[in-house]
Point group: C2
């Protein structure tokens, strides 16, 4: 996350960056992108929090659901598809399991591994969350009224 509310003016960036040979235009573009993305991520996180959920749990359900030709993934495959450390995957799966949104089965081939699949309840939950998720993203990019700054 990028927490600076008021981005520096081009002039200010020059004052900092100019002496290091960085391009102020480039820096301004990157800072703006980070700030905008942070605001969007904030909204998305707030949306999931309001549903007693989290973006990461949602993404776990998504990667299982979207996998072509398969209904389950190993924990390690889920970890491969998400840019989050393994222990966080473990904990997130434990929570999803506790809530009955996924099911685990051992694998025959490798006794260490687990196959994770969505339960009907997990599918339902995912389906229930998707419309709001897309609505937030959609309205963020092309706002009905003024976006940004909610404080």
């Amino acid at each position: 996350m990028f927490f600076l509310k008021e981005l520096p003016t081009r002039q200010m960036i020059d004052g900092y960056a100019g002496q290091y040979g960085a391009n102020a235009e480039t820096i301004a573009t990157a800072l703006d992108m980070m700030r905008r993305a942070s605001l969007l991520v904030r909204r998305i996180d707030a949306y999931f929090a309001a549903q007693g959920f989290s973006q990461l749990r949602f993404l776990v359900l998504i990667v299982i659901d979207r996998e072509p030709k398969r209904t389950s993934l190993r924990a390690s495959e889920i970890a491969d598809r998400l840019d989050v450390s393994r222990p966080v995957i473990t904990r997130t799966l434990q929570n999803l399991l506790k809530d009955g949104l996924i099911a685990e089965r051992g694998t025959d081939a490798d006794k260490r591994a687990k196959r994770i699949s969505l339960t009907p309840s997990g599918s339902d939950r995912l389906g229930a969350l998707l419309p709001g998720y897309f609505r937030i993203i959609d309205s963020f990019i092309k706002p009905p009224q003024a976006p940004e700054n909610q404080n």
Copy 2:
């Protein structure tokens, strides 16, 4: 942060979003922005962590340093300029104080408030961190070789 490594194809987005009336193009743009920003924030965080620092501490130093015509800010003014909760500001200031990078003085006008200023050490630290910071941002936007995917 947005943790999905492989963004969904346009087709896949249509499969999810189309039924909810969202524009797949818009969604794809937003997901791409979030992913790119997340990767950049990761690099920046790694940079500061390698220096035993953090992006937030850096931003605190920046907002004090860049304030025109003043050499100190109240804690609450710092909080106003950063999109982070007050308790996090308190803790971050405590750490910066412990490291001797900022100094605190009470205010005459309001005995609750604190005026925060950079120490020479804090100024030096900020100056030492800036070049690397801009270099990362600069090279992320226009990469010398291939960017993205470090795992």
